[in-house]
């Protein structure tokens, strides 16, 4: 029995949303830029430092955007460009070298330094890849210096992680063996990564690597024998770079919810020739546990209407999970960018009537949300309180990036994130 058919047999249209029209809008986009990814990436890769080359706005974003400040001395900083840096590029490069040398003197523990481009550095065409090469030759082999752009003119929010991982791909060692290896791509909470590693081991898949690694020196190998499995839906550029290295993608939905996790693991199992019995033996107990954990939340969420404002590109996998495993009713599912190929399996599973939108004109989208009055609106921090003040219950989308939500053991936690705002509504008598 395939995992898809074992998932509760409810009558659902099978065509999904793969052919549905998508509303494409152009207007004010209420999304973060790619720099924001640094907030979790600098914790994930424990000996890496992220130096944003940008403006005061970038520095201000970094400390405000996450809504939290991590005040142990963080592993990120901004080299703030000033008037004189704009006067001539030679000077800007010199200034950058000085900033880097000051930083590395202060933080000898840094093994990998990312120079992160911003809107102003892109507009003045400050070439950070050349700067990284120049500085690398000075600091090799102690510090590896790489660059990527997290600018808002090129990236939204999670695309920053995509660019960062893409910058790592050329640095990965060449896989020497013919034996196929599995590479799991996309930053996951350490606890989730460990769970997946155990599951792959239990089904007999050895040679599993994770990108990004927890330490810069532990870069996984890649080559034509590599099969990679995306753990996050926003990694278009990274995937392209991996394929240039000869790796091939295992197509799968994303590991959200019990069904999603099973389908994701199963795609890897099939690619590695794991037999069905071994797969069930490795996953059945955890899957059953995940379904039990979802059960109490379904009562609260079943039939509730849901509206997604675009934010992290996680919207479509989340919508699929919430609709299929918790019986929520999807209204509009907005996403900043719709990658049809990577999301093909997700779109097939999405209920047919879902209205999809890509890009954003925030004022018009707010008009639609006000007309629909969904039970839950998933939105960024700039919109949440204003919508709450209009009587619309919201779920902050950023929490979906800062909470472990992937995998079997987190399926219940993911459902709880959506149940909590409604629970709160029923408790409060003020």
């Amino acid at each position: 029995m395939s995992a898809a058919s074992t998932s509760r047999d409810r009558a659902r249209p099978t065509a999904g949303c793969s052919k549905s029209p998508v509303l494409r809008e152009r207007g004010q986009r209420e999304v973060f830029c790619g720099l924001t990814g640094i907030v979790w990436l600098h914790r994930k890769i424990q000996d890496a430092f992220f130096l944003v080359v940008g403006s005061r706005t970038c520095a201000h974003l970094m400390q405000s955007a996450a809504g939290v400040m991590i005040f142990a001395e963080p592993r990120f900083a901004t080299a703030v460009m000033e008037e004189r840096d704009l006067a001539g590029l030679a000077d800007a490069n010199e200034e950058l070298d000085t900033a880097v040398s000051r930083l590395l003197e202060r933080r000898p523990d840094i093994k990998m330094l990312f120079l992160v481009g911003s809107c102003p550095s892109e507009v003045i065409k400050l070439d950070l890849s050349r700067a990284a090469a120049r500085l690398s030759s000075r600091y090799a082999p102690d510090v590896r210096i790489l660059s990527y752009s997290g600018s808002g003119i090129e990236t939204t929010f999670t695309q920053g992680e995509d660019r960062c991982l893409a910058a790592l791909v050329p640095e990965l060692p060449q896989a020497e063996t013919e034996t196929p290896q599995l590479l799991v791509v996309g930053a996951l909470a350490d606890v989730v990564e460990d769970q997946f590693a155990r599951l792959f081991a239990a089904m007999g898949i050895e040679n599993v690597g994770f990108l990004p690694p927890r330490r810069a020196r532990d870069l996984p190998a890649v080559g034509p024998s590599t099969r990679y499995l995306l753990a996050q839906p926003f990694l278009a550029e990274t995937a392209r770079m991996l394929e240039e290295r000869g790796a091939s993608r295992i197509a799968a939905p994303f590991p959200l919810g019990a069904e999603g996790t099973t389908l994701w693991l199963k795609a890897a199992a099939e690619a590695f020739g794991v037999d069905a019995m071994a797969f069930r033996a490795a996953t059945a107990a955890a899957e059953a546990r995940a379904r039990r954990a979802l059960e109490p939340h379904r009562a609260a969420l079943s039939g509730k209407t849901l509206f997604f404002f675009p934010d992290s590109q996680l919207e479509i996998p989340l919508a699929r999970m919430l609709a299929r495993e918790l019986d929520m009713a999807l209204t509009e599912v907005g996403t900043p960018y719709l990658h049809r190929q990577h999301l093909a399996e997700e779109l097939d599973l999405l209920p047919e009537q879902t209205s999809l939108s890509e890009g954003q004109d925030v004022d018009r989208q707010l008009d639609r949300a006000r007309a629909i009055r969904p039970d839950i609106s998933v939105c960024g921090l700039g919109l949440a309180n204003p919508l709450e003040a209009e009587g619309l219950t919201t779920k902050w989308s950023i929490e979906l990036l800062f909470t472990p939500i992937q995998g079997y053991e987190q399926a219940g936690d993911l459902a709880a994130l959506f149940a909590r705002p409604l629970d709160r509504q029923t408790r409060l008598k003020v």
């Binding site: 005061r56 400390q63 405000s64 901004t78 703030v80 309180n385």
Partner: protein, 538 residues
């Protein structure tokens, strides 16, 4: 290029947003790339505003740079006007849009909108948030109040009997530190003095309110960083005097009352008793005998210039603290802070580098830090008490309760919030007497602040085993990094040193070592420690 970990101020367009968001009937169209919309959450999350800031961003992307970003600005402006129908509009560029030089002001003029459009030139690579707020408020005032300016040489209208003097309150914005409550407190105070408030701006003011700023007799400037430039223009244009004393603390509030009476042409306070009656509880609480333990506590002050200078006065004159550091990130007002620092005999710290402030606090070894949310985190790491006195602040510094910093109630609030983080008098004595008690260990927080760990402020005590290190002959290093003559601490002396409260231990160590070095002693004994203590006193 300046290496920055945390910033005290945002870019100048965030200052403009603070003004626009504070006002009614104003809309700001900002030429800015995708991502700059993060600034909305400062208002909706940190200040918990229930509406989006009245700002529309063009959110251009790389593909727009190849085509026509100027056209994008024009479309955005027209759409924003149609949707929001404001009575006045602000237009400007964020840091990236400044580089592409589309001239939002010129484009907006060409759009010929039926409302006043105020172009803002805020140089992002030179200026910061408070400057941006001041410039924005000034441009709004000039544009909207300017048409009402009197002819040169016009006589002010005469005041009849029973005339109630009127003033404006200038400076409060969105996202300001306690601005909401300061305005309420000062409004109440002015009303008790018999003065009417004509307009409060920018907070709560609509364009038509700005247009009648000139009708008041004088201006109350609560936040010179924001309203100073506009107040000077109003004086030049309408002859309105403005207040120069910021009413933070009991004494400053009394001085403010005297200044306001003078500007309003009211008789001296002695006549009706209003100015002479202390109205805050601070003077009595401070004279109350249980407050003796506050005497001479070392306090480090850092914030915007207005709040820092005010806090220095309150801390020294009204709490009896000793000022051990005073600084500001407001370079525009550095002169005021330098003058105040000279008055208190401390070195002024003018910087917006968080790491410099951290180093200065570590070196000054204060017992209390009065600062921004940055200093709160520094103090937390060092295990020092801290109260927040200035922006930038986080969500917990926008309290639900009435909590002004200004006026007489503000003085009460200062009393409560500055005393709270300190170790209470009796607890402090017991800490000193029973240093070895397991609950009094150096890592313990003051009991009323709950469980939690301190990070040692004395670097030497943070080392795993200082005694072993000294036994191994590790040279002592002074803060400038120069190696000093090696002076060994005997193990008894080292143990005795650890009985000294952690917040003065670093100073005791330095003093003892200096004392020993001056006398050419090679080893520090318990005797040396107490000789040094007697020599330096405290």
């Amino acid at each position: 290029m300046k290496l920055t970990v945390w910033t005290y101020e945002g870019p100048p367009h965030v200052g403009a947003m603070r003004v626009a968001t504070a006002m009614e009937g104003v809309h700001y169209v900002l030429h800015a790339p995708q991502g700059d919309t993060y600034a909305d959450l400062l208002f909706t999350m940190i200040e918990r505003r229930d509406r989006r800031p009245p700002v529309t961003y063009t959110t251009f992307e790389a593909r727009d740079l190849g085509s026509d970003t100027a056209a994008l600005f024009q479309e955005t402006l027209a759409a924003a006007y149609d949707r929001f129908r404001p009575q006045a509009m602000l237009v400007g560029a964020s840091c990236t849009a400044e580089l592409i030089q589309d001239d939002p002001g010129g484009l907006a003029k060409a759009a010929n909108l039926p409302v006043p459009v105020i172009p803002l030139e805020l140089p992002s690579y030179q200026r910061k948030e408070n400057w941006g707020a001041a410039e924005t408020f000034y441009q709004i005032v000039r544009t909207l109040a300017g048409p009402a300016a009197p002819e040169a040489g016009a006589e002010p209208s005469a005041r009849g009997p029973g005339y109630r003097p009127r003033c404006n309150i200038l400076g409060p914005t969105a996202l300001g530190f306690r601005h909401r409550d300061d305005v309420a407190e000062i409004r109440k105070l002015l009303s008790e003095l018999g003065i009417d408030v004509s307009v409060v701006a920018p907070l709560g003011a609509a364009p038509q309110d700005i247009a009648r700023l000139g009708e008041a007799d004088f201006n109350v400037v609560l936040y010179p960083e924001i309203a100073g430039v506009a107040a000077k223009w109003l004086k030049r244009t309408f002859g309105q005097d403005f207040t120069t004393i910021v009413p933070i603390g009991h004494g400053a509030t009394r001085d403010f009352v005297a200044e306001v009476r003078r500007l309003a042409g009211l008789p001296d306070g002695a006549a009706d008793g209003c100015g002479n009656e202390p109205k805050s509880r601070l003077p009595w609480y401070s004279r109350s005998v249980d407050s003796t333990y506050l005497t001479g506590k070392r306090v480090f002050v850092f914030g915007d210039a207005t709040h820092a200078v005010a806090a220095a006065r309150v801390a020294t004159q009204e709490f009896g603290f000793t000022l051990c550091g005073l600084g500001t990130y407001s370079r525009e007002f550095a002169r005021d802070v330098r003058a105040a620092a000279a008055e208190y005999g401390v070195e002024p710290l003018i910087t917006d580098d968080y790491l410099d402030v951290e180093a200065a606090i570590q070196a000054a070894q204060p017992e209390l830090v009065l600062g921004t949310q940055m200093e709160r985190h520094i103090a937390k790491r060092l295990g020092i008490g801290c109260a927040v006195i200035s922006a930038p602040v986080h969500v917990q510094d926008h309290p639900a309760r009435y909590s002004p910093q200004m006026g007489f109630e503000g003085a009460n609030v200062l009393w409560d919030s500055w005393v709270h983080p300190l170790v209470m008098g009796l607890e402090e004595h017991l800490l000193g007497m029973f240093r070895d008690d397991f609950e009094f260990h150096d890592g313990a927080m003051p009991s009323h602040l709950g469980p939690g760990a301190r990070v040692a402020s004395d670097p030497a005590s943070a080392a795993p085993d200082p005694v072993a290190e000294i036994a191994a002959g590790a040279p002592a290093v002074d803060p400038q990094g120069a190696t000093l003559v090696t002076i060994g601490w005997g193990s008894d002396a080292e143990a005795e040193l650890r009985k000294i409260p952690f917040f003065v231990r670093g100073k005791a160590r330095r003093n003892t070592e200096a004392f020993a070095a001056e006398r050419g002693l090679s080893e520090i004994t318990v005797e040396t420690l107490y000789d040094a203590k007697a020599h330096y006193g405290r």
